[in-house]
Subunit: 352 residues, 2 copies
């Protein structure tokens, strides 16, 4: 199989993890539940398939210092720092062009989010190795996750005909991409068995992606080529790149997109609600911190180093940091994004 490179996308803040996540301490830098940060675990699980010397990271300026500290083995030339966020098409395009320029030839690249949970690391490595083989025929690969709930917050992949097998994995065409569906559609997808979640993990050869960019985002690709050739123009050119997601800008439009079922205990850890089950049991629920509870249950507490007393409460999320505190019901955890917006409106940017 081809030597595989990893491009880890680590540009998001993780607004729904406020107050724990901050611009300089984003979700991927947090030790949510485990003793290691999500980005550290993302790097570690790739070995030995993709050792650190073949790992690149795209991140934001505000996060770069924390990231560099967590990943001491990744030298600065492989940490690509965006002068400003331009969404994922720009990040994947720049990362791909930068890898190709640094390593030469036509490298195989796996794009991976920095802030997801994967339980079965071995299976991920098998999937990536098999997908890299499948990509040698010129396919763009996206890993698909079997839905376990009628989630309306994800994009879906509609499965097309089988295209072949590599290792233990069956590959199929993606008939089409479906943006976040409504509840009834999501329920139908869950029952139908013909749709997978689009989990934001991609495998392709650099030349194939370049072709897709030239076909669907040609202006962006020209600018990316220029800023890779002339790194001193990064701050000038990067902010001009179109803000569009990699899914919408490339994957949904490209021909020959394939997928395979990835069964590896995946979670995007989308909110505190999703984190809860990864945290240890405590009186009154799950979490971190010293919790004492009276007539309380099913709460999610994240307050390391603090004593939290719960009295007569259930289904609450309680997250405490030194300077800020969040209290909301578990079924409102997705809405923590709104708190982020409100902090900006209220002149509390220092807490973002």
């Amino acid at each position: 199989m081809p030597e595989l490179y990893a491009l880890i996308i680590a540009g998001g803040v993780g607004a729904r993890f406020w107050p724990r996540s901050r611009r300089d301490r984003p979700k991927q830098c947090l030790e949510i539940g485990a003793g290691k940060s999500l980005i550290r675990r993302t790097v570690d699980r790739l070995s030995p398939l993709i050792p650190p010397e073949r790992i690149f990271v795209v991140t934001a300026a505000s996060m770069a210092p924390a990231l560099a500290k967590l990943l001491p083995e990744i030298p600065s030339e492989r940490i690509l720092v965006e002068p400003t966020g331009r969404n994922t098409a720009a990040a994947v395009g720049w990362g791909t062009a930068a890898i190709a320029a640094q390593v030469g030839g036509d490298p195989s690249i796996a794009v991976l989010p920095a802030d997801h949970v994967i339980v079965d690391d071995h299976e991920l490595r098998c999937l990536l190795a098999d997908a890299a083989l499948a990509a040698q025929n010129g396919a763009l690969l996206t890993l698909g996750i079997d839905p376990t709930r009628p989630e309306t917050g994800f994009g879906y992949l509609e499965l097309g005909p089988e295209t072949g097998r590599h290792g233990g994995h069956v590959f199929r065409q993606v008939a089409r991409f479906v943006e976040k569906p409504d509840a009834a559609t999501a329920q139908a997808y869950l029952k139908g068995g013909k749709h997978l979640w689009n989990a934001g993990m991609f495998v392709f050869q650099a030349s194939r992606l370049a072709g897709a960019f030239q076909a669907h985002l040609p202006q962006m690709w020209d600018a990316i080529q220029a800023l890779v050739a002339y790194p001193d123009r990064l701050k000038l050119l990067y902010p001009t790149l179109e803000k569009v997601s990699f899914d919408v800008g490339i994957m949904e439009k490209a021909e020959g997109v394939m997928t395979t079922r990835a069964s590896m205990g995946w979670s995007d850890l989308g909110s505190w609600e999703a984190v809860a089950k990864h945290l240890p049991e405590l009186p009154g629920g799950r979490g971190l911190g010293r919790v004492i509870a009276i007539d309380s249950e099913n709460n999610m507490v994240h307050a390391p180093g603090k004593v939290v007393a719960l009295l007569g409460v259930r289904d609450l999320v309680v997250v405490d940091t030194g300077d800020a505190l969040l209290v909301c019901p578990r079924d409102h955890a997705q809405r923590v994004r709104e708190v982020h917006q409100l902090l900006q409106d209220e002149g509390l940017e220092y807490l973002l």
Copy 2:
């Protein structure tokens, strides 16, 4: 009218105000809502009727340093420090004997809790002055509060015949004391108009109280006389005093107890629930701290210096200190006492 002395009872921790209240920072030392501590306000509202030089305080050893700091004008000989808490009969008895010993003669004494809220300070002074006149006839006076709700947590005074008037106040015999009634009885008292709350504020002449102690707690009185005469025996004798409340040990048994209606905006601030209405309005409810709120209402937040985000919650009490956090529904606020007990059981005494 006679010169009146104040005996301020400041021995309680205020367990229901955890985590704000601690053994060394009890409820009466807290600035709950206002810019001054409750004990500071208790002293200030007595002037000019009872100036600081006629004020005595009974307190616990753990609280004495904080108290001395808040009341710099009260010299240490007038701050009576209990070696160990022995309930209120001992505190009132010792305080009365100590005042009589220090000032000589037969002083008139007003016993006042340190941790209540009184809105109309002027009316309190009028009440105490008139009560002191009534007490010159040998009565034991207890101030009564017109019930405003069917409270089952207080003792009640059943009104007897009128005994006379002083100033603008009508005095009546107390026909009997009623310990904490059940809900139906409390409801009947609220409607009947013949019962007042027993608010723990008393006025009497020292000699009259001595007589009541000799009649109803003679052993305790002998011990108190001894420890006042020989202060070096305080640590030896005080722990031997019977643990009984002043109401049960003296007032309920004594003859000639009188009361008058005290209409002065009184509250015992029994819990965070009672505190709420004294705190400023905030997004999502009332409290202290920087609160931002989305779809939240009627919460009570006490988190000075912290940013608290409330999202989709109502009727909650949220109290944050540097080391501890309490979350409970407002209608469970009385149960914060149970948290106090649980902290002891869990080996978290350092947070008491």
